[in-house]
Amino acid sequence: MNNSMKKLVSIIIVIVIAVLLYFAYNNLLSPEGIIADKEVTIQVNIKNIDESYSFQTEYEFLYELVKENKKELGAGFKEYSYGVMIIELLNYRVNESNNEYFHIYVNGEDAIEGVQQIVLNDGDVYTFELKAW
């Protein structure tokens, strides 16, 4: 086997291992929601405006719920290489040149994941607050 062929085989083996690792990650470690009826609250704080919404949902993740209620929440999204960000709520679009973004709190605590990974749990309160970094 010549050197180029050896390299090609090595690359294929590594890609196969990577796919298996990714598969294992998805099945063992990635956040998993529960498909069941839940009641959750979404709060939106933009400057002096505070709005609160209650939803009955079977969705697993916060992103799905916001997307489903896009009209009611006046929501808009932007896709980045690392995932989707909410850039508009109550029809207010963040001013990126002023470094504005929607900070997410889950039950008053800073969310440590993005909107696509935040799992919906019964009774939880999800707060979006306009902030600037």
Binding site: K7, S10, I11, V14, Y22, Y25, L29, S30, I112
Partner: protein, 166 residues
């Protein structure tokens, strides 16, 4: 340190910064790892460590200060020391591709350990777990890039460095 070396450190830092920016549209696909490996072998540990300091500082100027940039001042020198320690023992590109692959795979873990000093262990663990798919991409892309580009890059740099830059 000669003026020529100072200029060389500047140019090498610029190539790494530009290389990183050029590939920044692809998450966790970078040529920084291979460049640090090759630079360590060709230009030596001292100059490459200086390059890593300039590069890490440039990152702060470009992206703004954040806690994870502090880790840059440790993680790249770690790769440089590691490369310097094994460079005489590894004879083919496969060894360096393996090192680059493992380095990419553990990149998120290293940052998670660092971040947990600032934000707590729970944050560190979730940071690492959430980033595993990106670490996999990082490890695989490092392996492939080093396997393909290591020899041509090394040959070109050694040729020019031996010809007049030394």
């Amino acid at each position: 340190m000669k003026i020529r070396d100072i200029a060389l450190v500047g140019v090498l830092s610029a190539t790494i910064t530009a290389g990183k920016l050029a590939l920044s549209i692809l998450p966790n696909v970078e040529i920084v790892t291979i460049l640090f490996i090759v630079y360590t072998i060709v230009f030596g540990i001292r100059k490459t460590l200086m390059v890593s300091i300039v590069f890490s500082t440039m990152e702060i100027f470009i992206y703004g200060f954040s806690t994870w940039f502090i880790a840059y001042y440790f993680i790249w020198p770690l790769l440089i020391f590691l490369t310097n320690a094994v460079k005489d023992k590894i004879k083919t590109e496969y060894g360096f591709a393996f090192i680059g692959g493992i380095f990419g795979l553990s990149f998120g873990l290293f940052f998670a350990i660092f971040e947990s000093f600032f934000y707590g262990m729970f944050y560190g663990i979730s940071y690492w777990i959430k980033g595993i798919p990106f670490d996999i991409v990082h490890g695989v892309s490092n392996f492939i890039i080093i396997l393909i580009l290591y020899k041509p890059l090394l040959n070109v740099l050694e040729k020019y460095y031996n010809r007049g830059l030394r």
